[in-house]
Amino acid sequence: MTDISVGLDPRATLLHVDDLHVEFRTRDGVAKAVNGASFYLNPGETLAILGESGCGKSVTAQAVMGILDSPPGHVTGGRVLYRGVDLLQLAEKDRRQFRANRIAMIFQDALSALNPVYTVGFQLAELFRKHRGMSRAAAKVKAIELLDQVRIPAAKERINDYPHQFSGGMRQRVMIAMALALDPEVLIADEPTTALDVTVQAQIMGLLAELQHQRNMGLILITHDMGVVADVADRISVMYAGKIVEEAPVYDIYARPAHPYTKALLESIPRLDHKGRELNVIRGLPPSLTDIPQGCAFHPRCGYARDICRMDQEPPAYQIAAHRIARCHFIREVLGV
């Protein structure tokens, strides 16, 4: 096993994604899924990446993990710095050592994300056997411990069950156990609760938050659900057409969004105190990734758009305050100052 700690700088940012570009080359043309996404993550912190489906948030996560389907997916630019080391420059053999060990991921639909023909015990123990060189027996003990940690009742017996024998919530707990098995420093959760009932959603989010605090782990929460984000996230990055359009601490963004898209997203949440009022929905559809509008990609759907938004140059990242960025020419108007 190669020593993966070589070259890591403990003082550097835990995870820093810088100007990431990803495209999918298909027969029908090139889809630009990620167009210069940048964000960072510190230990113990929760960053939510928020956006509609197809905005590139899942693709970004997969590119960070290095598990893009390729072909057709290709990372065409940018850096993914883990403690100062650019993962994109590593050979696949070295890169593999980061997965599960340093950066782990949980997926939306645990039923399809778990292999249907192996027991959950096998799929958990596999991590210890392949990464830690443990024996089957020792790996099984660790697997039971993990299931206990994510509070699956009767872990000893359930270790021999297959994924389809678990309920949705329990299956997502298995996924979490699997992701945390090797004590990663970064956990990427891609819509971890979308497929679950509302009550189960809260349990799973609670469990995730608890485990995160215990381990001082950085968590990237990918979601389209602004409700989930408000409770758990420290910072939010809003993604549109493969680009982070606004980045802010969670309180600020809810109080005063700086980007028209964020504002529209917030206004489209049903609220009890607005009962009876008509819900604001964002008009139009997200752009086709093969044909992203010039200038600001959001301009065709934006109420603030003027000629400058349709120009070749996209709006730069305006610094609003410390840790606050928005890519819009009319921040002041949106903020209402």
């Binding site: 598990i67 593999r96 997965r99 399809s112 994300a113 292999n115 249907p116 392949k130 297959y162």
Partner: protein
């Protein structure tokens, strides 16, 4: 699992009686003179006629006839050939070499199909994939009556790489060419199913999970994808057996291997009706039993069915 087995067994009993009934009906029903049909054009004496009538209970009504026939099949009495040999004895002589031949064919076909199918699926659209596609198409279209004599002519006689015929106590080496010929009957379908199934599984979410776990590419494919992909391939073995049986009749004739197929061929050629009926009945039963086993194997391989 238990309910699945019971259900499959019940279905199998129905299929068993249905299939044997059809075979029997095809043989004896709606026939002016079933005895003449049994013996073909050869002249027949009154005593032979009486013996056959008694043997097949042709004096009774049709369902009683079927009942006696089934009783015989289930007690291992498959009748007596026109050469006065017991069909059961002939089968006992013939089956070992046929079994060896078909097992070799199954192993050859499965090895090629799985290896090439997996590579094709991983490198979809590559030269290898396209070449495989064309080759399988050609092999798929080669009837056994074309491939067996031509393989013997080219690889046995012209090139001299393999023995031309196999004979009674054939060695594995002598059986290799005929086994390859038999394998060609099923390899194309198996390969295509493997390719389609691996390609489909490669896109599955659990593959992404396996890669996110930092497993090597070989383990992702060899352990996670293959186990899922082979389930539909295994179920093919049952269907393939039918093709192998048909193929064995021609192959054993061409390569002079005195197995089950060879005997059946001779029975057809010498118009030995009792022999043909006996052999075909036994083969149909074997086919049904193997298909039942495959069904149960399927359940063992796929936990989603096992715990239904």
């Amino acid at each position: 699992m238990f309910r699945y087995i019971v259900r499959r067994l019940l279905q199998m009993v129905l299929t068993f009686f249905g299939a044997t009934f059809i075979v029997y009906a095809l043989m004896f029903a709606v026939q002016d003179d079933p005895i003449q049909a049994l013996v073909g054009e050869r002249p027949i004496t009154a005593s032979q006629r009486a013996a056959l009538t008694e043997r097949y209970h042709l004096g009774d009504n049709f369902f009683a006839q079927y009942w006696y026939y089934m009783k015989g099949l289930l007690t291992g009495d498959f009748g007596t050939s026109m050469t006065n040999r017991k069909v059961a004895d002939m089968l006992a002589d013939a089956w070992p070499v046929t079994l060896r031949l078909s097992l070799m064919a199954i192993v050859i076909a499965a090895t090629i199909a799985i290896l090439a199918g997996v590579v094709s699926a991983i490198r979809r659209g590559s030269i290898f994939d396209n070449a495989t596609l064309v080759v399988t198409l050609i092999v798929l279209a080669m009837p056994i009556v074309v491939i067996a004599p031509l393989a013997q002519l080219v690889f046995g006689i012209k090139l001299g790489w393999f023995p031309v015929t196999a004979g009674k106590d054939a060695s594995l080496w002598q059986l290799l060419l005929p086994a390859g010929v038999l394998a060609s009957l099923v390899v194309a379908t198996e390969l295509r199913v493997t390719r389609a199934s691996v390609a489909e599984n490669l896109r599955a979410d659990y593959v992404r999970t396996a890669r996110a776990k930092g497993l090597t590419g070989a383990r992702v494919i060899g352990v996670h994808v293959l186990r899922n992909s082979l389930i539909p391939v295994i179920t093919l073995i049952g269907v393939d057996l039918g093709a192998l049986m048909s193929g064995a009749i021609v192959t054993e004739k061409v390569f002079n291997i005195p197995g089950v197929g060879f005997n059946l061929f001779r029975g057809i050629r010498t118009e030995d009706g009792p022999l043909v009926v006996g052999f075909v009945s036994v083969l149909v039963i074997v086919f049904l039993v193997v298909n039942l086993i495959v069904d149960l194997l399927y359940a063992a391989l796929d936990p989603r069915i096992r715990y239904e």
